[in-house]
Symmetry: C2
Subunit: 319 residues, 2 copies
């Protein structure tokens, strides 16, 4: 399972396709005009659990052997991966243990609870989360499913690009957000596997631009105190995902916080869809003119739609 | 053209289908669970110009004779019909004259301007609007296209239900909002024409419940000072639309303002789509349990998505 290939991504797609949504591709004459390109939006905000994370999580859960599966799965991610893993475990009828910082928003807690995840709260430090997860794994024998640095996850996430190129075969460019790199590495392998000449680009928030930094240095380098409204993209690019990205991706564009907020709002106003800040970062790179796409056919993965309306990013600050 | 039949609706569909969007039908396991029914959402928020109004407006514009068309079209509606008529006129390359009250929001003005409508501002009274429109018609010879009380508009609006029943043939119930009654009367004729046993229901805001009142009295009766966050549904049901509604509709449910706001929010959070308050009223009737649909297959028309984010209805009031 360790070599990640287009064949593995096709197998993953066959494995999960009956349980995930075939998400639609939207277009907009107005956004084409504004961007000077032909834009195609793959709407993973409509995916089960509201994000592409359902793909990788379900693939990983379905690949567990019977005995292993019976002991359940665990994670210490608090975002969309946690909800997706809880959902996927529920489909297989096995427990999902989710370690979350006690400072997590009500919105995130509610999402994991909705899908039946068993939440363990811990102190909001990386160390406390890892320790709590390790203890759960020790006590229950649950399989720890990393949110991105795992071949089962990477090939699962790659299935979005596979569908995208089935629906729009003549894309010149494919663009997605990058955090830990699970979606980007899977997208690159799938897209180049189907169409070798395609250009693969990513968008990354300027406040958490470790992937961009690592990409230009040629080696993994974290940034200190990553921070962005795109809270799903704060993770440090993985030692499994980075080599793939380095080899198969053409560029990583850094986008401003303002561009991310504007992108969320514009996607709501023009496409009429809810996309969370992390999910709008690839489009933000286009809207902020950080990628050269004039006249091209550009596929943009809108990766998630779990927008916390109590923190609507366009809301004016209360005076 | 004056008798409104399913045949006329099919002809209208053939006339407009190449220029409008075939809008998708969405479903949600979570909303099914909450409602105790199987819900299907016809997403006219994704329609050209952001609302079903594009259907009727385009049908009316395409039905004009050459000489008549050359003189342009006019309306004194300030909402989605005005934008839709401007868009449809633009497709035919003819002018659209739109009379709007000088108090109209920047959002509504911008929408009409975007589609090339020629705006005439007037005092915010019904009399001033009618006079301004009459003057434009006198001066330019433009054809006045009423937003709902016109057979060309009614059959155009009916095409949404036609598509809906093509995509989901076994609906037990179809539900849409009612303002002036163009969508509801067209929906009733289309739905019963395709499937005689189907139940046709509507939702109406309690602050503008003239259609519901008229329906129970058996004759048209306006309400004084209609007011609702669903600003597209304030119109008085028409003398052409009401007889159809009276004969072909099974019931009109009145919904609270709170339910409309909650529906807009829930559609954003769960379906991940932007639906404006007027467009969410049919779903609000379901969520507020104002219609008996337990166990049924229910088609809900989400009629528009032009949500003014500066007035986001879920936003907490500034203290």
């Amino acid at each position: 399972m360790n070599e990640i290939t287009i064949g593995k991504i096709r197998e993953a797609h066959d494995r999960i396709r009956g349980r995930i949504r075939r998400t639609p591709v939207l277009t907009s004459a107005r956004l084409d005009e504004l961007s000077g390109a032909s834009l195609f939006f793959k709407c993973e905000n409509f995916q089960k659990t509201g994000a592409f994370k359902a793909r990788g999580a379900l693939n990983a859960v379905l690949l567990l052997g019977e005995a292993e599966a019976a002991r359940g799965v665990a994670t210490h991610s608090s975002g969309n991966h946690a909800a997706a893993l809880s959902w996927a475990a529920g489909l297989r009828g096995i427990p999902a243990h989710v370690v979350m910082p006690r400072t997590a928003s009500r919105f995130k807690l509610a999402s994991v609870e909705r899908y039946g995840g068993r939440i363990t709260l811990c102190e909001p430090t990386h160390k406390a989360r890892e320790e709590a997860a390790a203890r759960i794994v020790r006590e229950t024998g649950a399989a720890l499913i990393h949110p991105y640095n795992d071949p089962r996850i990477i090939v699962g996430q790659g299935t979005a690009a596979l569908e995208f190129l089935e629906d729009v075969p003549d894309l010149d460019v494919i663009l997605c957000p990058v955090g830990g790199g699970g979606l980007l590495s899977g997208t690159a392998i799938a897209a180049r596997g189907v169409k070798p000449g395609i250009k693969v680009l990513a968008g990354e928030p300027e406040g958490a631009a470790d992937a961009s930094l690592s990409f230009s240095l040629g080696e993994r380098r974290p940034v200190e105190h990553p921070a962005s409204i795109a809270d799903g993209l704060l993770a440090f690019v993985g030692d499994l995902t980075f080599p793939i990205i380095r080899r198969q991706v053409d560029g990583i564009a850094v986008v401003s916080e303002e561009a991310i907020v504007a992108a969320v709002r514009q996607l709501l106003e023009v496409l009429k869809i809810a996309v969370e800040p992390s999910g709008a970062v690839a489009y933000a790179a286009v809207a902020e003119k950080r990628v050269g796409i004039a006249g091209k056919r550009v596929g943009i993965i809108l990766s998630g739609g779990n927008l916390d309306l109590d923190r609507a990013p366009w809301a004016k600050p209360v005076p």
